[in-house]
């Protein structure tokens, strides 16, 4: 049971809340309070737009414990519009073919459940192909 860890990470996981560096304006994700680009203190919250593109991807057939139910699934490195690259599952692919450079958008989804049906449900970001509509 890892309830405290999931609770601590909820803002970044539910809504891609990271930080912006007040010194060099870099956008930081995940938040770490020290800017990885200029080394200055960076504690100002920043909500990422959730838009990005697939930087690279792979299909997972042999999956970690806790993820068996949704296998096989596609993991991707997603380059966010604001710069950082995040690792996340792709979802809602249907029959859609994944390509490097494919535009994707963040959605909040179930990641897995802790302790099967008795534990907490862990929610977090995944990315899906961009749906047609206003941006």
């Amino acid at each position: 049971m890892e309830v405290p860890r999931h609770w601590r990470l909820k803002k970044q996981r539910y809504a891609l809340v990271g930080e912006v560096c007040p010194h060099c304006s870099s956008k930081i994700f995940p938040p770490r309070d020290v800017c990885p680009y200029c080394g200055g203190e960076a504690k100002t919250q920043f909500s990422f737009s959730g838009r990005g593109q697939v930087y690279s991807f792979t299909q997972m057939t042999s999956v970690p414990v806790g993820y068996e139910q949704s296998a096989p699934y596609t993991m991707a490195l997603v380059q966010l519009e604001e710069g950082p690259v995040v690792t996340a599952q792709l979802t809602d692919l249907g029959e859609q073919h994944v390509e490097i450079g494919m535009p994707v958008e963040m959605v909040t989804r179930k990641i897995r459940t802790d302790m099967d049906d008795r534990g907490i449900i862990i929610y977090g970001y995944k990315f899906r192909p961009v749906l047609a509509g206003p941006r």
């Binding site: 909820k10 803002k11 539910y14 809504a15 909500s47 139910q69 949704s70 599952q89 979802t91 809602d92 249907g94 029959e95 959605v107 909040t108 989804r109 179930k110 990641i111 907490i120 449900i121 929610y123 995944k126 749906l131 047609a132 509509g133 206003p134």
Partner: protein
């Protein structure tokens, strides 16, 4: 004795006028054709199926994730700071937890936390409009400037049961505001509720039970016609005063028949009738019909909505669209955008997605 609804002060009207400042729909991607259910359970008999196909959630979707997306769409249209939303109320019969609110997670994800009321509502398929009426009261009393009400479900039907053809996933979210900021004004609401055991699910049970034909006349038709008829009597309106009408839609036939009983034409109900394409989204069913209407309606158009929830009751709402709809509705995905996003699945995939396979 018959009430005289034209003179009784029976309408629910807030002290200060209230409207909808933002709305959003959500429908998951996957579709199970009714012919697939018939193939498994009726030997392929395809005659008289209640809908064409129903929306099925993915592995990683539930009432919470779908509520988050619908609420984000509502926020895009409203254009307000989520911190100003002082209530997040979710009506559903498929809350992922028996104990732990869906609304705290949704509120946190969309940025409302921590100064807001959070609660989960339950009244079968009427839970969504129940939350909406409460939100109208909260804003109308000026206790809150904005309140978010959601009706969302990932409904389950027992394999082979009549409900399995239609029990679907989807719903809508509405942010209520003072009327002068609204894209649509709530003129009044009216409720009709009795103790009618037409459909229920006991604790610990996975699938609901229903009263077969008893679910029709004494439940669905009685409550919707009473609420709709008396709403119009109290508002001194006739069906001709409304450009659109939308009713709870458990299948294709019931809402069409009840529209006829109340005097509405196909022209008036066709925009909000989504059940043939997405199935019965339970607490989301009537109100996702309303998002489809708001996506198309013009300023000045009047809408009658009547929900229905088993147990049983109906909430009627009389709504007038304002000029502001034109500048707000294109700011988020529309209901038909989600309906058009469609991947057909077979019964085997459906059983896996819905967790109907037990591995141990």
């Amino acid at each position: 004795m018959m009430n005289d609804y034209a003179t009784d002060p029976i309408l629910l009207k807030p002290n200060h006028p209230v409207g909808i400042i933002g709305y959003g729909a959500y429908v998951p991607r996957y579709r199970l054709p009714a012919t697939e259910v018939a193939r498994l359970w009726k030997g392929g008999e395809g005659e008289g199926l209640p809908i064409k196909e129903k929306a099925v959630p993915g592995f990683d979707e539930d009432t919470i994730t779908m509520s988050i997306e619908a609420s984000r769409n509502a926020l895009k249209r409203a254009g307000i700071d989520p911190k100003e939303i002082r209530a997040v109320w979710i009506g559903s019969e498929s809350h992922p937890y028996a104990v732990k609110p869906s609304s705290t997670i949704v509120g946190e994800a969309i940025g409302c936390s921590p100064h807001f009321q959070a609660g989960d509502w339950e009244f079968a398929c009427k839970a969504g409009t129940e939350a909406m009426v409460a939100a109208i009261g909260l804003v109308g009393s000026r206790m809150a400037k904005y309140a978010l009400a959601i009706g969302m479900d990932t409904a389950q039907g027992r394999p082979g049961d009549a409900l399995e053809y239609t029990a679907a996933a989807g719903g809508a979210a509405y942010i209520f505001s003072p009327a002068d900021e609204a894209v649509a004004i709530i003129n009044a609401t009216f409720s009709y509720v009795t103790d009618t055991p037409d459909f229920w699910r006991r604790p610990e049970q996975h699938y609901p039970e229903h009263g077969q034909r008893f679910t029709g006349d004494p439940a669905y038709f009685k409550h919707i016609t009473e609420a709709g008829k008396h709403m119009m009597q109290a508002m001194n309106t006739t069906p001709a005063d409304y450009k659109y009408a939308v009713f709870h839609q458990p299948n294709t036939k019931f809402p069409q028949r009840v529209a006829g009983l109340l005097g509405f034409s196909k022209e008036q109900y066709k925009t909000g009738l989504l059940s043939p394409m997405i199935g019965n989204t339970y607490a989301g069913a009537a109100i996702i019909g309303l998002t489809a209407i708001l996506d198309e309606a013009e300023p000045g158009d009047r809408i009658l909505l009547v929900s229905f929830g088993s147990g049983a009751g109906s909430d009627a709402m009389d709504i007038t669209v304002t000029d502001r709809i034109l500048e707000h509705r294109d700011k988020a995905l529309k209901t038909q955008d989600y309906i058009a996003r469609r991947t057909e699945i077979d019964y085997a995939t459906y059983t896996r997605l819905r967790g109907k396979l037990t591995m141990r």
